[in-house]
Symmetry: C2
Subunit: 428 residues, 2 copies
């Protein structure tokens, strides 16, 4: 593993050399390395917990808040869960070498398009130390070298985890430099990393808007940005209202702080009189604050009928564009599936959008017209996740349209090349 | 079509509106529009030729060189060829709606990944007016709105061609704004276009390094850059030397000014004594200047044996990295397929690389290890082309690894979305 004294450029060049060797490795060799990493995490548990305790102590002394402390904290069950996640990646199919398509040209040339690793993938992330291992395992299995640049808050944890992964991988026959930590938490190191176009093929930021803004200013290496998730559930006139209630409550409340949680509920006016009071009751029971348009408030939005309901505030224009990441839900009544589609086109962030309907025409219109990574019919937006989609631990979630859209799994860590075979073919 | 008085942002917003409608159109409607464009080109031939004559006159007055004048020039056969190219795109399969993959999750959710248009594609190009129609046809067939920003040299030709395409498309039922010319040839307009992230999904530059540099400085919209093609032919020890000669001559001389032409020949030392004199004779007969390493020159590189051969100069380090785009070829002798692979890894630009060999082991090593968009066995590098690959007229050629690699055809003008169907599924 690169030492702290190596320059960023040196670490990147070593990763590039490692990537050339990694791209050629058989699945069995990569899987054995992942098993070794998982075993080493179990075997070197004390080292990991000691390093994490150092980070936790410094973080507490620095007055870091409880939510962030919890994300930073490792304990034995959490480390075992990280090891288990690595073993789950062993069980996934190797994307490298898959023939995506191919055909014989009229002149007899045979063309195949074959999946190959990207090369060197840099992951820039915040306080969660588990990302160190999750990302390394996904990159190694897909034949990529990985550069890790974590938060300085987690520096001891990340250094220990990266060292364990690197040592176990190299001992299993993977090349030196296959897992490297980029030392230095400053913006200068980030800028240096983000401009190594000769050696780094992709940067994946896992962090907030400030990290994205910092990268956008300096990066010449390709970056896959994950925009926020302003996700909608639209309850159509024909919806099964039991399903609708379950989906809305799940999409909003199961984990409100994540990008695939719903932020706005749209309800067709033909079912609004029946649905609105019950969903407001259910949301109220879950402690959800509602910010509603006038049509919604006219339909029992103020807890009328004596039933205990959610607290309902008046929604302003800004509510339709807000990703609350909190137990707050904007609600609007719409007059048609077309109006719902228009609302989503205007305010959605292209992440995950759901319709609840029993009408095939409405379902089809919604699926065809809504421009988002994931479009759901009669299911919660919360399923947008690499693990849920059967892609293994995801390394991020893309709301951009190029290369990767939706969960970024091993397939998205690959590119392809055309292999063309002839017997002396020349172009005429 | 947008008038010259619309601002760049207005034109982009109109294209965005058009894109939403285009994404929903059936193939038959799009094909009818393409047929109408092809027919209109034939029917409005005089208009096109008159506009082009205006550009030609201004260009001649400005002292533009013959090569550029020839690229700018349209005549009746060339316009008919443009119309024919549009009809060939009609014959290609519509990429939109293709199910890329899909499966049922253990919880019963059905997931499909379906190809959809990107939305709004901007093509920024230089003097060739045929690009106006080629690019418009590829974008419309793949359900995208197109923004065209051509060279000011071709402004009259491009304006007429874009107007013909737009009018024919709209008359066939395609939405207003589906084909627009971005007025203004200055860097300010380019910068404005390149920052319309709300409405433009992709910019494809078709031009030289200065255009790329200008975009790199300002673009926040995703850009697919095409790097230069420093392509190699490696003649292995076991090569059929007749095939090798034909492939080298084709790759170097069939059209030396294009990116898929070969720039360096690598010859295995075990066949160099036999192959070098004959390939130097053949290159000499084609008027190719050779810049050779010492090993090559020792093998008859100075026309020894009295045979007329190519003019051979001493290659310097810079020759291995040079894309001549001219009848010049660098030649080096290597000791193994591994040395050839190393040379290509060091100097290649990831475009097109070829091995000539009868040894399956060498062919496999070369295919696996060479990191390029197209890797050829016993065929000329000149085949890297959307048309040759059966993808229709290409809109560019990508040497980057993300999203598009190799020829950019209609498939590369698309993204995908996940369609997920359940019956009330919520995440537990």
């Amino acid at each position: 593993m690169a030492t702290a004294t190596s320059s960023v450029a040196d670490v990147c060049r070593a990763a590039k050399r490692a990537a050339r060797a990694l791209a050629q490795l058989d699945t069995a060799v990569k899987d054995a390395a992942l098993e070794a990493i998982a075993d080493a995490l179990d075997a070197r548990m004390e080292e990991v917990l000691d390093a994490n305790e150092r980070d936790m102590r410094l973080a507490r002394d620095a007055g870091i808040g409880d939510a962030l402390l919890d994300r930073l904290r490792l304990d034995e069950p959490r480390v075992r869960a990280i090891a288990t996640a690595v073993r789950q990646i062993v069980a996934l199919a190797d994307p490298v070498g898959e023939v995506l398509d191919g055909h014989r040209l009229p002149n007899g040339l045979d063309i195949r398009r074959v999946r190959v690793p990207l090369g060197v993938v840099a992951v820039v992330y915040e306080a969660r130390p588990n990302v160190t291992i999750d990302a390394a395992a996904l990159c190694l299995k897909s034949g990529n070298a990985i550069l890790l640049r974590g938060s300085s808050l987690a520096m001891h944890s990340n250094a220990t985890l990266a060292q364990i992964a690197s040592e176990a991988a190299v001992a299993s026959g993977l090349p030196d430099g296959c897992v490297s930590l980029v030392a230095g938490g400053g913006h200068e190191e980030l800028a240096e990393l983000a401009t190594q176009t000769d050696s780094v093929d992709l940067i994946i930021p896992r962090g907030g808007e400030s990290l994205k803004a910092a990268l956008q200013k300096v990066a010449t290496v390709p970056v896959i940005y994950a925009a926020s998730g302003n996700c909608h559930v639209y309850v159509d006139a024909s919806a099964d209202l039991d399903q609708a209630e379950a989906i809305v409550i799940n999409a909003k409340t199961q984990r409100p702080g994540v990008c695939n949680a719903a932020e706005t509920l749209l309800v067709h006016r033909d079912c609004a009189a029946e649905f609105m009071p019950r969903i407001l009751r259910a949301l109220g029971a879950e402690g959800v604050l509602v910010r509603a348009d006038e049509r919604t408030r006219a339909l029992g939005g103020d807890g009328e009928g004596g039933s205990p309901g959610a607290v309902v505030e008046v929604a302003g224009e800004e509510d339709w564009a807000t990703e609350y990441l909190a137990p707050t839900l904007a609600i609007a009544v719409v007059h048609s599936v077309e109006e719902a589609i228009e609302h989503i086109a205007r305010y959605g962030s292209g992440h995950s959008e759901a319709i609840v309907t029993s009408d095939t025409g409405a379902a089809r219109a919604f699926q065809l017209s809504v421009d988002a990574a994931c479009v759901y019919v009669n299911a919660s937006t919360r399923f947008t996740d690499g693990g849920e989609f059967g892609m293994g631990a995801e390394i991020g979630n893309s709301t951009q349209k190029l290369h990767a859209r939706g969960p970024i799994g091993m397939r998205e860590l690959c590119t392809f090349k055309y292999l063309v075979e002839g017997d002396g073919h020349v172009r005429v």
